[in-house]
């Protein structure tokens, strides 16, 4: 059988311009080769910076600004697309190869109707007439499971949800009847429950239309559901390349095995959970006049971890804001160590503030880019404990030691740290206050899987050493399983389920928790089909 796409020894380079130094060239992709048959899907997987998106874009003969393809071939039906001229590339893009971007919300023009944007490429390339293209778009909307496929195209991007927008984008890519689609992390920005729908829709559409696809993601569990072959990439090189079955069931390389075993360590749950360090009692809260929290109650014992789980908009971050005093509740109270905390930040004493610290989701914005690591970590040391000069620096060194970073980092700026290192510095800043409780607001969701694993392990070790209590906000059930003692599941501003981990994660479930748990991709073949099957049975039963 002939191959649709053959990538042969692809080299891609870029020039970096570090300030104050001479620019130099780096290689982003180093000699990658793979084949793709018609109607098959290859998954490219790796951490950020592994070069997976760059390879995907090279299949469109495109390089982001500053990036150039320095060697190798990409044969589409035997023709090297890297050597096509301007005209040739224009004919190829949007006609034979199309692209689905990570953020559909940013990829659609907000001032045009979805239908017009979906058919644009097909009409402009003269593949079909407008009415025919519209017909195809309606058919594709149906295939992708969009509501009311006949009228969906007349809506504007802001009138549909993120998951629907991502599916509309897939319809846009499928409309010109391409041979190949490049999916660049199409479900990464979505909630788990939505991700399942989109994933199923994409898989169905690929089967229905027989198009070939390159599927780029960092989530091995997702790619396992949809691909025929998987290529694991790291630092622009192929780590392992094989069929899904082989990669998932018998990985050959150490790195692949590390990716597969993520979050498989599960912390045993603490027995005694009654004596609460922090308890929230019947909290209501509102932004202006819009109520966001309704009767939220939960508690966590000293030295334990409470995981607050839910999708975006479920009120979990708002709960954190109420605990910290940034958003005073309209009803109810926050009790810390047997004492009700003043509702507003300004009324709390320095000592009360010191005891509750916070770690943020985006370490980039959580640190002042104009301060060095010493200033960032040293400020709480000086502010709460009055240490100065040498004593302060010594304490900062100790903290750096605690977060497993050397003293060499002390004079660096945040921009000179990697994502994982940044988050570690944020952890050190929280620890510097010697708090009794730390609120972690999705501290690992912006990090690559292996880096996130390291940060989680660090947090657990610190809990063992210092007995600090965590309130851990996340949407990732696997993380919750690994670290929590007790769990609160939130949905639309309410706590739908709260209790010890073992109880929350075992049946009987309420509807939402059930949906949430079943939507988490598992690292095994055929999970997607089973999950969908179960869902169908549930809805048939209703």
């Amino acid at each position: 059988m002939s191959n649709l796409l053959e990538v042969r020894d692809l080299w891609i380079g870029a020039t970096v311009f570090p300030p104050g130094e001479d620019p130099f060239d780096i290689d982003i992709v180093k000699g990658v080769s793979f084949d793709l048959e018609k109607g098959k899907v290859i998954g490219l997987i790796g951490e950020s910076g592994a070069g997976k998106s760059t390879i995907g874009l090279a299949a469109l003969a495109y390089g982001r600004s500053g990036v150039r393809i320095t060697g190798g071939q990409a044969l589409l039906d035997g023709e090297n697309i890297l050597e096509l001229g301007r005209e040739g590339i224009r004919n190829m893009r949007g006609r034979r190869v199309t692209y689905v971007a990570q953020s559909a919300a940013a990829a659609f023009n907000p001032s045009h109707r979805l239908g017009d944007q979906v058919v644009e490429a097909a009409v402009r390339h003269g593949i079909m007439g407008r009415s025919e293209a519209m017909k195809r778009a309606r058919y594709l909307f149906g295939v992708l499971g969009l509501p009311d496929p006949d009228n969906f195209g007349s809506r504007f991007p802001h009138q549909v949800s993120g998951g629907q927008l991502q599916r509309a984008m897939t319809a846009m890519a499928l409309c010109p009847k391409p041979d190949l689609i490049v999916f660049d992390e199409p479900t990464t920005a979505l909630d788990v429950t939505t991700q399942l729908d989109v994933l199923a829709a994409i898989k169905h559409a690929i089967e229905e239309t027989g198009v070939g696809a390159i599927y780029i993601t960092h989530d091995l569990a997702v790619v396992a559901q949809i691909s025929d072959d998987i290529m694991v990439l790291r630092y622009g090189e192929t780590v392992e390349y094989g069929s899904v079955q082989q990669i998932i069931e018998e990985p050959r390389e150490e790195y692949t095995r590390a990716l597969l075993s993520i979050r498989s360590d599960i912390k045993p749950e603490a027995k005694d959970q009654d004596e609460a360090l922090l308890s929230l009692e019947n909290l209501d809260a509102a932004y202006g006049r819009i109520p966001v929290l309704f009767d939220v109650s939960m508690h966590v014992a000293k030295g334990q971890t409470l995981a607050v789980v839910g999708e975006s908009g479920s009120g979990k971050s708002t709960t954190a804001r109420v605990i910290t005093g940034l958003l005073p509740p309209t009803r109810g109270r926050v009790v810390f160590d047997g004492e009700a905390l003043p509702p507003a930040l300004a009324q709390r004493s320095k000592e009360q503030l010191r005891q509750i610290q916070m770690i943020y989701q985006m370490p980039d914005t959580a640190m002042n880019p104009r301060q060095t690591v010493e200033q960032i970590i040293g400020r709480p040391v000086g502010f709460y404990f009055g240490l100065r000069g040498k004593a302060r620096r010594k304490r900062v060194m100790e903290l750096l030691e605690q977060i497993e970073m050397g003293e060499g980092f002390i004079d660096r700026y945040p921009a000179e740290l990697s994502g994982g290192q940044k988050q570690r510095v944020c952890i050190a800043r929280a620890l510097a206050a010697e708090p009794r409780m730390v609120i972690c607001d999705e501290p690992t969701s912006a990090l690559d899987p292996l880096v996130a694993e390291g940060v989680l392990k660090l947090l657990m070790d610190l809990q063992k050493d210092t007995g600090v209590t965590y309130v851990f906000i996340t949407h990732d059930i696997a993380t919750v399983r690994a670290i929590a003692d007790s769990i609160a599941v939130m949905y639309q501003g309410k706590v739908v389920r709260f209790g010890p981990k073992s109880k929350v994660l075992s049946p009987p479930f309420d509807d939402y928790t059930d949906l949430l748990l079943k939507s988490v991709p598992e690292m095994e073949l055929g999970w997607l089909e089973r999950a969908l099957e179960e869902r169908k049975m549930v809805s048939a039963g209703h």
Binding site: G20, L353, Q357, M358, D364, A366, M367, N368, P380, A433
Partner: protein, 357 residues
């Protein structure tokens, strides 16, 4: 004259060869373009135009050389840290620094440097450049050079004081508005909007006409008018920073307004504010000149550059260049300040310690 043109082209050609030899692509292309341009110029307007072009080029080369030498001098004389900082200055910035320093020194030591007194009538009206009067005399027969030097004193002092004051007021109000928010933001913003709604020049004219003629009042009026722009910019950039997580982290730590404004926000908004300061200073010089030109700025017989343009503008009709000297001085100062600012901008916007990667 006849020997000049061949020599000119030979020098350019030699330069081109050297650029080729040293693989200086930009220099090579630039020189080739220059040769072609000169050839066209010589064919269309004759050989004398080449001389003019050569003088302009020589002025640029001289300025670049001055900048280079000045930078070398600074690097060798300053302590290590500052030397490393100065080394990053491009030639434009070092020339700018040199000129600002020269103008500043002239202004400070005007009494010693100026050949004649500020108000002293020493010759005839609009005497040409000759002998004792390097730049000739003005409309009342006072020495142009001396008045330029004394004028630098008043012009720079007033413009600098006004822009520093306007930045002090504008930054304080805008940062407070961004950090405190709520009612304070509303009141401050509405007052600023009100001031912005009145045309600048008319506002200044009315106020200055009503108030006593006094240099401090002049500075205060200029500062109050100018701080509205600083406020708008400062508020926009500070609000952007004030919602970042690290500011929230500081508030959760229990930090006061002072820390948040000066330690968390200010370092992050310095870049646009420095750029704005360069612009505002230049505008202040121009605005002061406008006011003086209209008779409401610095009062005669005290010298200031804008007023001097006004005094001598009628001479232009008689081909007397007296008005061009103060005008050129204003332009030179504005350009030099902005060349320095451009460099500082590139420095502070750099990745190390900069925002994001």
């Amino acid at each position: 004259m006849s020997a000049f043109v061949p020599v000119y082209f030979v020098v350019l050609a030699a330069g081109t060869g050297l650029a080729w030899y040293w693989r200086q692509q930009d220099g090579f292309i630039g020189l080739i373009a220059l040769i072609l341009f000169s050839a066209v110029l010589a064919l269309v307007w004759g050989q004398s135009s080449i001389v003019g072009l050569a003088i302009v080029l020589a002025a640029f080369a001289g300025a670049a050389a001055c900048g280079y030498l000045f930078r070398a001098l600074l690097v060798s004389s300053l302590p290590d840290n500052s030397a490393r900082f100065v080394k990053t200055a491009p030639l434009t910035a070092s020339f700018g620094m040199l000129m600002v320093l020269v103008i500043g020194l002239l202004a400070v030591f005007a009494g010693f440097v100026a050949p004649y007194g500020e108000r002293e009538i020493v010759g005839d009206v609009w005497e040409p450049t000759a002998g004792a009067f390097i730049l000739g005399t003005d409309n009342l027969g006072r020495d142009m050079l001396s008045r330029l030097i004394y004028g630098a004193q008043t012009t720079i002092a007033v413009a600098l004081a006004a822009s520093v004051l306007s930045f002090a007021i504008g930054m304080f109000l805008s940062f407070s508005a961004a950090v405190i928010g709520g009612w304070f933001d509303q009141i401050a913003s509405r007052i600023e909007d009100m001031l912005l709604a009145i045309p600048t020049l008319i506002f200044a004219l009315v106020v200055l006409a009503a108030l006593p003629q006094n240099i401090y009042i002049l500075i205060a009026v200029m500062a109050i008018i100018d701080q509205t722009r600083v406020f708008r910019l400062g508020r926009a950039v500070a609000i952007d920073i004030a919602v970042q997580d690290f500011v929230e982290a500081a508030r959760l730590r229990g930090e006061g307004w002072n820390w948040i404004i000066f330690r968390e926000i200010l370092p992050n908004v310095l870049t646009p504010l420095i750029a704005e300061f360069g612009l505002r200073f230049s505008f202040a010089v121009l605005f002061l000149s406008t006011l003086s030109f209209l008779g409401l700025g610095i009062q005669p017989p005290e010298a200031d550059w804008g007023g001097m343009v006004k005094d001598n503008k009628d001479g232009i009709i008689f081909l007397v260049p007296a008005a061009l000297y103060p005008g050129g001085a204003i332009a030179l100062l504005a350009v030099c300040v902005n060349m320095i600012v451009d460099w500082l901008l590139r420095r502070t916007a750099s990745l190390r310690g900069g925002r994001g990667a």
